[in-house]
Symmetry: C2
Subunit: 344 residues, 2 copies
DNA sequence: TTGTAAGCGTTATCAA
DNA sequence: TTGATAACGCTTACAA
């Protein structure tokens, strides 16, 4: 027969005190004498008592649970996170930080805004981490209930209300484009997912600025229909190769890698015939052939920072928004234009 | 002023019935008349009532929560899942299936076995999914508490007690090795992480069987010190190239890709100088250069199957263990040995 | 078929 | 400094 695990009542009885007193020492409420405190602690130890989170949640109206929310596409979060190890690093970092602070992490996809509200309530979630951009109504809902949240990779006006963690998107694109221009490219193409997405937009802005400073004409951007994925890059190849670009800046490594593959199949060599730069510096970019010139963002640091801010906000603080630095990592996928074969 | 969200008491009052009746219709207990059922349903609708999970958890002693457990290395799950999109697909699939069944997913790393026990209890977890192999003590703990669990990628004796989901590891390695042998290779190297891991062991067995059938001599396997990662493959290159192998079978795509990269840096061409096959068929293997010949396992199906079995076990069923099929995907990284340069 | 009331394991309010 | 005791929101015998 399995012995039931001890409750606070058992501890109280064992220590010869009331439940209240046990609760006091558990929660470090001052009004306990040293002697009873010791007795209680001993009993806890002896019985192997651990407080029950669901009971605590019920009375305290908080759960020690934080939720990571990913966009749902086709009823699944797979479409977003399937191929991109960006999420692996983010999630790992958040999980670690949360666990160290006594929180558990709930991972979920979110479709309809109204679901979200009840979900937060039903679970009494203490805090939320939004990975990426969500429909506007979600943020409105958020405001109406009153739960701490941190927005990651979002530039909406909502950022004013909630702490956010971003990276220097504009600068990243700028650095990459400058690098390409400095190599001597004057036909540089921008390839991203959707310029209406603010992150993409800012990157485009950085691209434009670099072009301007280099005195070259921005080209018509190539937008891919899907999200950041190999396929997006792969399918972009047709439109890319229809241009006279000698260099391409992609807004994610995953797109760049898909693109490079498709170019390879068309006999277009990278970087000999075309230079390609990415964004993110996911692990694989170091190992791909050619290895990818890219903009490094410190993904784990980002996840850790986001979790940290959420923890702070949950304690009642008002953490500042944070914008993390990025840097250019030059690898094999970019080179000077091939003067021989290229025009101009 | 924020209006409090309605409780079951509010609904009862609104409908002019008792809390019990509301609970009955909520939980589909038969003994409710059509008329009251309708009244209650209307009130629920009108008030926008949603049951509170923490309260339900407390009385029912179950949480509608399932836990995904990953091995912790260095206090972080990052080391395991950082680079490998295998986990992205698994987690996505589990999350989707769970969500559709009204469960939420808790993601956590697990270090010390004793932590695990209290964690399950504190959260009243309904079920557990173990991703990969854990120290033996964990399974012992599991048995002592009584929580449904499904083991993934584990061949321990524990599998007898718990439903498991595996793939045909032996067959996969066999297929890959056969493919290499059929191409004409007779010096085929096995590269994996650690032959003491049962999954690796079975793959080695398949490799051996294929060698035997092809009448070739198995070579001394190369074991990498780390887990499945680019670096493992990358670092294996030195030992691989020190052999006279003309083909290598790696036990994961991620290792294969790391290896190919390192070989590339050493001027060893794949597949011209050396053929390389992987295992898993993660998305990137389709897009790498060269694209990777590999053993496809249906990762999402696997995650879905695991979640399904757990759901079944939680309902009191005893799901059968399942072994999913694998298949050979031939791509660019394997080719006949270069008779010109190779010996023999 | 419906209602009453006793839990579930905590925390928190008041007296003592 | 302590201890009853009433919440917290729900489920479930047991009565009616």
């Amino acid at each position: 027969m399995m012995k039931k695990r001890p409750t606070i009542t058992d501890v109280a009885r064992h220590a010869g005190v009331s439940k209240a007193s046990v609760s006091y020492v558990l929660n470090d409420v001052k009004k306990v004498s040293q002697s009873t405190k010791e007795r209680v602690l001993m009993s806890i130890e002896e019985l192997g008592y651990e407080p029950d989170f669901t009971a605590v949640s019920l009375t305290r109206q908080r759960s020690q649970l934080i939720g990571i929310i990913l966009p749902l596409v086709n009823q699944s979060i797979a479409h977003v996170m399937r191929e991109n190890t960006y999420y692996n690093e983010m999630i790992s970092a958040v999980e670690q930080r949360a666990r160290e602070s006594g929180f558990d992490v709930l991972l979920t996809g979110l479709s309809r805004p109204e679901h979200y509200r009840t979900w937060v309530h039903k679970r009494k979630l203490d805090g939320l981490l939004f990975f990426g951009l969500f429909p506007k109504e979600i943020y409105d809902e958020m405001r109406s209930i009153d739960v701490p949240a941190v927005l990651i990779d979002t530039y909406e006006e909502h950022t004013d209300r909630y702490p956010s963690v971003n990276i220097e998107d504009e600068k990243g694109a700028y650095l990459a484009t400058c690098h390409l221009a400095e190599l001597g490219h004057s036909r540089i193409l921008f390839t991203g997912t959707n310029l209406h997405n603010p992150v993409e937009h800012y990157r485009y802005t950085g691209y434009e600025r670099a072009c301007k400073e280099a005195g070259i004409q921005p080209m018509n951007p190539v937008e891919t229909p899907h999200s950041h994925s190999f396929l997006s890059g792969y399918e972009a190849a047709e439109r890319v190769s229809a241009t006279d670009a000698t260099a391409v800046f992609c807004t994610s490594d995953i797109i760049a890698q898909g693109l490079i593959r498709a170019l390879y199949e068309r006999g277009i060599r990278v970087p000999d015939d075309l230079s390609v730069a990415g964004f993110d510096d996911i692990h694989s970019s170091r190992y791909s052939i050619p290895s990818l010139t890219t903009i490094r963002q410190q993904i784990q640091l980002k996840g850790d920072a986001a979790a940290g801010k959420l923890l702070e906000a949950m304690k009642g603080g008002s953490p500042e928004p944070e914008v993390l630095d990025v840097s250019l990592i030059i690898r094999e996928s970019t080179a000077p234009p091939d003067i021989g074969s290229a025009s101009q």
